[in-house]
């Protein structure tokens, strides 16, 4: 009890001080000198957690505000001292029961002729569609790979929420965006998880170590084709991107000829094929595939290999500038001044590419706490989601609504960056659709309906659901997910149709909004006869049928991949309001604004939310015995978290 009163004291002091943050002296912008203990307060501690981590609860902010700024930054950035052994490891579903991993149908064709097997199962059978078993197993592995990767994405997001080292996860996410590698092409969730673990290990360490580790990372070797980069037939993909996107920046002092020469230096850095669960995914520097000739690269000449090449890249003036500019954009502001960029670059070089000194300098700088740095960043979707959970005080990632579906709608699916340049970020996160989707996420999060919730990870994808109906000649058994047995179970066509009709109605329909199923027709459904598309012709051969394979693959993948627990978020806004001694509707709105917003709400918007709460409660004061208070506060928080202001951190 005593501590909570003490805490409350801090909160009140802190919350009033928050206003003063915008009053940071004008001269602070672009000033790298550290702030002093007398400038340190609740509002600045909140800003530090907002940017360097995934936001804070009032209690966490108050704890940080009690330290000196140097200690606060240090305990966040120098996280290796914090024990994180209690963090849950990813629980694999075991998606390779036959011991074979996903490979393209072309790659397994040889096995089929030699052994009659594909992916460890018999490739053919008697009767109709004789090669269907191979096709089915291909799609099972394909969909399992993706479903398991998405589960891993949720596991990672949960780790961001519960870790005692949030800066480590934030940096790992930053490097995931920087060395943007996608499961879309890698198609091996174990390698993707391995890459993230490598990023995590080096997240605040030495950039050279990180770069070498990534150049030799199996997922990266697949992603940018360096495993195909061999003597005599160089593949330039990795060579181009290590300079353009990982180290120097486009147009920063290298030529097309440098790219070709660099590709030669990386020849032979490769990977052995990984077809079965017995094949180790290990980096190999194969001397037979390495071009040992003389290369001229960035003005130097010699028989360079990959390590030499990396060291030459790190010697370029562009490299430390590029890295520090990107760190600054991530943590401080969109644009860095050339002077500031130069100073941070010099610091990185002087520390031999150790990252901690740069991070410490940034997070302690007056510039970081200056007005143009505060509340001016569009929260990236993952930041938006994890920090929302955090500020709501959740202890685990909520199961409703679906994390992947939400993150996808907002434009950021972990392990699936759009391309090697990573997520474009900044203002591009917000457009009319994503802005509305953010608000609707909050709605479903705060008003979950577990009884009626259809888990999207166990519903056959739109466009494929109708396959059993569309191909009666193959007598495909329709399946539906049974949450009780945790498996896909056969159902009658009538039950199946009924389920699909409900599903097509969509979330808005369920809320009483007129909205018909849209555009669910596809090649497979298209009108027969005239003008058949090429896809319709290809999908249906006498040896196998791709649509049948897709349906069977999805059903089997759902059985292989563990379901996501659908535990809704539990939040008690009444308790929050009570412990903050909120008495009036105005105080309630202001309390939740302070708890969640980094930017003040426009006064009109604040007034309309106050008015809303007054009319919901039929009173200007909160009555803690009134059973309807809980839902009214929920609606208020939904409104505040849907406001344009909440999108900024």
């Amino acid at each position: 009890m005593k501590t909570s009163i003490l805490l409350l004291g801090f909160l009140v002091v802190g919350l009033t001080l928050r206003e003063s943050v915008n009053a940071a002296p004008a001269g602070w912008a672009n000033d790298l000198s550290p702030i002093t203990a007398k400038d340190w307060n609740f509002a600045r501690a909140a800003h530090l957690l907002e940017r360097a981590a995934f936001g804070g609860t009032p209690e966490e902010i108050a704890k940080l505000a009690r330290m000196t700024p140097a200690d606060a930054v240090n305990c966040l950035v120098d996280y290796q001292k914090i024990d994180d052994r209690s963090l849950p490891a990813f629980e694999h579903s075991g998606i390779y029961p036959n011991g074979h991993k996903l490979a393209s149908l072309g790659e397994v064709a040889k096995d089929v002729f030699a052994t009659g097997k594909a992916y460890g199962v018999p490739a053919a059978r008697e009767g109709k569609l004789p090669f269907q078993p191979a096709i089915n197993e291909f799609y099972t592995l394909l969909f399992s790979e993706h479903a398991e990767m998405l589960r891993a994405g949720l596991w990672w997001a949960n780790r961001m929420l519960v870790t005692p080292r949030p800066v480590q996860e934030k940096l790992t996410l930053f490097w995931h965006d920087h060395f943007a590698t996608s499961q879309e092409k890698v198609a091996n969730h174990e390698l993707m998880l391995g890459q993230i673990e490598t990023l995590r290990r080096h997240a605040n360490g030495n950039f050279r170590d990180l770069l070498v580790a990534l150049a030799q990372d199996p997922a990266m070797l697949i992603w940018l084709d360096n495993r195909e980069n061999v003597k005599g037939r160089p593949n330039e993909n990795f060579a181009r991107e290590i300079m353009e996107l990982f180290c120097m920046g486009e147009g920063q002092g290298y030529s097309e000829s440098d790219i070709r020469e660099l590709a030669r230096a990386f020849t032979g850095w490769t990977l052995r094929p990984i077809k079965t669960t017995n094949d180790a995914a290990r980096f190999v520097a194969d001397p037979k595939l390495h071009d040992d000739g003389v290369k001229t690269f960035l003005g130097e000449t010699g028989r360079f290999n990959g390590y030499d090449a990396i060291d030459i890249i790190l010697k370029q003036r562009a490299t430390p500038r590029f890295i520090t500019r990107k760190l600054y954009r991530e943590f401080v502001r969109e644009e860095i001044t050339p002077e500031l960029n130069e100073r941070l670059a010099r610091l990185l070089v002087e520390s031999h590419y150790e990252l901690k000194p740069v991070l410490n300098t940034i997070f302690l700088s007056r510039d970081f706490y200056s007005a143009p740095s505060i509340g001016t960043q569009v929260k990236p979707p993952i930041q938006f989601l994890v920090s929302t959970w955090h500020k709501l005080g959740l202890r685990g990632a909520p199961g409703i609504p679906d994390f992947t579906e939400t993150a996808g709608g907002l434009g950021q699916v972990l392990f699936y960056p759009p391309n090697v340049a990573g997520w474009p970020g900044g203002r591009s996160w917000i457009n009319p659709a994503t802005l509305l989707a953010r608000g609707n996420y909050i709605h479903t999060l705060l008003f979950p309906d577990p009884a009626r919730y259809v888990p999207p990870d166990k519903v056959v994808l739109e466009g494929y659901r109708q396959i059993p109906e569309l191909f009666p000649q193959y007598e495909i058994q329709p399946h539906l997910w049974n949450p009780k047995t945790g498996r896909m179970e056969p159902v009658s066509m009538r039950e199946y149709r009924k389920f699909l009709a409900q599903l097509d109605a969509g979330p808005m329909k369920a809320k009483g909004i007129d909205e018909a199923p849209m555009l669910s027709s596809n090649a497979i459904m298209a009108s027969p006869g005239e003008g058949k598309s090429k896809m319709s012709q290809m999908a249906d051969t006498e040896w196998f049928n791709l649509a049948v394979g897709v349906y069977s693959g999805i059903v089997e993948a759902f059985n292989r991949v563990k379901p996501v627990p659908r535990i809704p978020a539990k939040v008690d806004f009444v308790a929050m309001a009570r412990s903050a001694q909120v008495a009036t509707v105005e105080e309630a709105v202001d309390y939740f604004c302070r708890r969640f917003l980094s930017v003040n709400l426009a006064s009109d918007r604040r007034a309309s939310i106050v008015e809303f709460l007054r009319s919901e409660l039929n009173s200007a004061r909160l009555n803690y015995d009134d059973g309807s208070l809980s839902i009214a506060l929920r609606r208020v928080v939904h409104l505040i978290l849907s406001a344009p202001e909440y999108q900024l951190g």
């Binding site: 391309n419 457009n431 003008g531």
Partner: protein, 416 residues
């Protein structure tokens, strides 16, 4: 209970009526405007009547760098077959368009359009001193100003110049994130990719609060100013788009259910619903075929060709075939010589497509010569900004293209 906008018509018939006479007209306009069509309203707002107020431009971006040589195949050219021992499309497989060029066998839909005179292929499109980075090259195609760092796109600048008084929904960008090509100083493009979710959940009382989110307030925080502007566009545009897409039905076969198919169907839906949209911007990814190109590229071309054919048929069904043109481009073609991974590396010039009933079908421009290369890459023969100028001038009826494109580029005879 939870209705996004109760005043919105709910039946298709109501919707069409509303679509023609009321939707998109901002609240403060004089009453007589409400009797006009949306296009006419836009005209009235912008002063001089537009020559072709019903014309629509659909721009489709193929991102990653589509292999032009394996799309429009120079099948009689020995140099082509020599450079691509594994990947070259054999003459007997090609869908022959004339004695020199044919389409990849996946492109049956495009072949049909070509034979019907609805497909113009502009050969060898590029620009001087090409850049082989995806991101830089794409930025230059988006801004039409190589090395210019222009914050706005060519379509955004065109909209600013042509329609200085923006009408809501003039530009629609179906995407998860706005393209630089439509970035504009005056217009705020409607960006979305799932129309089902384009609206706000909440009670009626909450909807009234949401209206204050759609209003602009002065602020010194530029990021907040930006989000407020987006909130305003969302508040105005969302309902119309959602309903247009929800109401749409078609039996035309667009091919498989990929993103491109869905995006083109949504485009057709918005055209069918009479939205005042004049520019649609769509994009399809996956064309960066560094390795194992043969199968992947074939599938991409099947998607592309099927979807474009389906879209053109659907637009014809809607009676708008003479009002809609599609322009297709990629940020670059690929290296002439195949690489050791069964793929091709980043290249330069490539053909662009212009499709529609109003188009003068056939080949335009000159194809690059495969034996006269620049460091292994094709030399461009047509500046892509000439194609842009043609779309703006001949199609959209805007002749001051030099202002928008920041240079004079000759108009090509792509339209009869």
């Amino acid at each position: 209970m939870n209705i996004i906008n109760r005043s919105f018509p709910t039946s298709r018939r109501d919707f069409l009526r509303a679509g023609l006479y009321a939707v998109g007209v901002s609240a403060g306009l004089p009453a007589f405007f409400r009797q006009m069509s949306l296009a006419e309203t836009a005209n009235a707002l912008n002063g001089a009547p537009e020559k072709n107020p019903n014309r629509i431009l659909v721009v489709l971006e193929l991102s990653g760098g589509n292999d032009g040589l394996n799309t429009v195949v120079p099948y009689v050219d020995d140099a082509y077959h020599r450079a691509r021992p594994k990947l070259a499309i054999r003459a007997n497989k090609v869908l022959k368009l004339d004695d020199h060029f044919g389409l990849h066998p996946a492109c049956e839909g495009l072949e049909r359009l070509f034979k019907d005179g609805q497909l113009a292929i502009v050969q060898g499109c590029g620009y001087p001193n090409p850049n082989l980075s995806h991101f830089t090259a794409m930025e230059w195609w988006h801004t039409a100003v190589p090395r210019g760092n222009d914050p706005h796109g060519w379509l955004g600048r065109f909209a600013d110049a042509h329609w200085p008084k923006p009408v809501e929904n003039t530009i629609v960008n179906i995407a998860s994130r706005q393209s630089r090509a439509v970035a504009s100083a005056r217009h705020s493009p409607v960006v979305f990719n799932d129309p089902k979710k384009f609206g706000r959940l909440g009670t009626d009382a909450q909807q009234r609060v949401f209206e204050t989110f759609g209003k602009l307030y002065p602020t010194t925080n530029p990021a907040l100013e930006f989000v407020n502007e987006i909130a305003r566009t969302a508040t105005v545009g969302a309902g119309k788009v959602r309903h247009a897409c929800a109401e749409y039905r078609t039996l035309v076969d667009y091919g498989s259910a990929n993103n491109l198919t869905l995006d083109l169907k949504m485009t057709a839906a918005m055209i069918a619903a009479g939205l005042p949209t004049r520019i649609f911007y769509l994009s399809q990814g996956g064309f960066d075929t560094h390795a194992a190109q043969a199968d992947g590229h074939q599938l991409l071309l099947v998607y592309l060709s099927d979807a474009l054919r389906g879209f053109m048929k659907d637009i014809e069904r809607l009676g708008r075939a003479h009002d809609v043109v599609v322009m297709v481009f990629s940020e670059f073609g690929r290296r002439v010589r195949e690489n050791a991974s069964g793929g091709t590396d980043h290249g330069t010039a490539a053909p662009m497509f212009v499709l529609g009933k109003s188009v003068k079908g056939g080949f335009h421009g000159t194809a690059p010569i495969l034996t006269d290369l620049d460091d292994g890459n094709l030399k461009m023969t047509t500046d892509f900004r000439s194609v842009y100028a043609t779309m703006l001038d001949s199609w959209m009826g805007f002749d001051e293209t030099a202002i928008v494109l920041k240079g004079d580029y000759p108009v090509l005879p792509v339209f009869a």
